[in-house]
Symmetry: C2
Subunit: 308 residues, 2 copies
């Protein structure tokens, strides 16, 4: 096994798609060799990770498609990791935009992988971090990670990506202010997609105002308009991403911040690994039946049994 | 302090709004007496927690307002916990729908509290669980918890609420299928809000189909149409919620599932408490400078220093 992982690692570094896919599967399912593979990764990797996030309906997949189309013309090698909300029925894997990406599945410069998120308990983010790090070991120029998310999961993606593009659409309506509060912190670039819609100008203007307020004299978060379906604005977006990645290299503080977030999520997953969900459930089932059950007393007691 | 917490607990049980607010503050900020207050709570509480969740722009706050309006006519006592995405600038607290709720702020039957989420690191969900449990100790009939969320945070809210209402709007567009994958698991009731819009019927029909497929012969997740701004459909929604809460009492398996989720989140917060974010950052800063830095080796090493 040890030998196989070393070999696999070499194949991944050489850009062998089957090896990359196998590496991802090993990490995704914590198969034998999992830890060894992760421990062998290098931090001096070439590929930059670009997170594309935003609420459902923002056209993220179409934006990813358009960016793929653009960068392929520049002969870039690109990996796409699409993160689906989990479902026991796997609706996410069957339906939706992924079909539209089918034209790219046979392109030798593009590696595409859909990832299930397995709900909150499986540790969504730590797995994606690990998977992205495996893919990063291959000679890609760019890794696009698409996630549906507002709030929590967006913050997580920010710890993973070198550049986070937050995609919004006009008509987000009354609660657009609330949305912005959550994403303001993590957006490196804002995209107003479907910018040909009536309300686009209002959303664009509001984002500019917020970006200005946030900047506080520093450089403002760029706000761009795109119509991903027609490709309008995609060239500008691509060059803004490249520009951001370039300036970011000179910001060690930001890199350290990202790395700390990443590490925090890995540690959370690690710390929870020793706790067995089913035995927790079984103990709870017994405890609930008792009079005077208190969840906090139960939790305290349950945790006291963990030496590790 | 011990005496004060006992007294505070009695005042909360008596429904003293100032005491409830103080209790929430103590828990929110982990002030002295925090643990003692939690350990004194009872599980045999009266109030039921109703989670209102869904993507930005779905009109959740307006829906909460409409439900408040409805239940006030029935002389119910209601608490509202509104969870904002965090922001160092507190945009969420300054702007948005909350203003529209101002008419309720002076009503003696309504307790309203906005909560900041403090980003991913603070443990969003464990704090909200604890706060809801404190509020639950007071003689409210209903506790409405409003969260913006798609994905991760929705799963979390499901662990907190006795009934989770997922609010969607027409025009969610291309990715509506993906959205549904994530929320299918946690929705007890679906609401198609802004149902007077053109695409409402299509969304409604799709949700019905998914609810039917998911039910697999069991009872289907109800799908309701509302126009929260005009109050249309609110009476039906309120009675569907009450009906759900009633049937749910006879489902110990579901209660155990919810309790396990809740407990898991409390345990996660507890397990991470001993890890100091700033010292992690400091150690990372040193480690990154070394040649051959590997995040997984670092994490392993960092964690090995934790006896606790």
């Amino acid at each position: 096994m040890q030998h196989n992982i070393t070999q696999l690692h070499e194949q991944i570094k050489a850009g062998d798609f089957r090896a990359i896919a196998r590496g991802v599967t090993i990490v995704e399912n914590s198969l034998p060799g999992y830890e060894r593979l992760l421990l062998s990764l290098h931090e001096t990797r070439h590929a930059r990770v670009i997170g594309i996030t935003g609420p459902p309906g923002a056209g993220k997949s179409t934006l990813v498609s358009a960016l793929l189309h653009h960068w392929l013309k520049e002969n870039k090698k690109i990996a796409v990791l699409a993160v689906d909300p989990s479902s026991p029925f796997n609706y996410g894997a069957l339906l939706g935009d992924r079909i539209r990406m089918s034209e790219y599945y046979t392109n030798p410069n593009i590696f595409i992988r859909s990832l299930a998120t397995r709900g909150a308990l499986g540790g969504l983010s730590s797995k994606i971090i690990e998977i992205a790090d495996v893919v990063r070991e291959a000679p890609f120029d760019i890794i696009l990670v698409e996630t549906v998310g507002v709030g929590q999961s967006e913050v997580e993606i920010a710890g993973l990506a070198d550049c986070t593009v937050v995609t919004l659409v006009p008509e987000a309506g009354d609660e657009v202010q609330t949305l912005k509060a959550g994403v303001m912190e993590i957006a490196d670039i804002f995209v107003v997609n479907k910018a040909d819609r009536a309300d686009a100008e209002g959303l664009y203007r509001n984002l500019r105002i917020l970006a200005h307020e946030k900047a506080n004299g520093q450089s403002e978060t760029p706000v761009l308009k795109t119509v991903a379906t027609s490709g309008a604005g995609i060239e500008e977006l691509a060059s803004e991403i490249v520009k951001f990645l370039h300036t970011q290299k000179t910001q060690p503080a930001k890199r350290l911040h990202l790395m700390t977030e990443k590490c925090w999520q890995l540690i959370t997953a690690q710390r929870m690994k020793s706790i067995d969900h089913s035995s927790l459930k079984a103990e709870l089932a017994t405890a609930i039946k008792k009079n005077d059950f208190n969840l906090y007393a139960f939790t305290k007691d349950f945790l006291s049994h963990f030496v590790k």
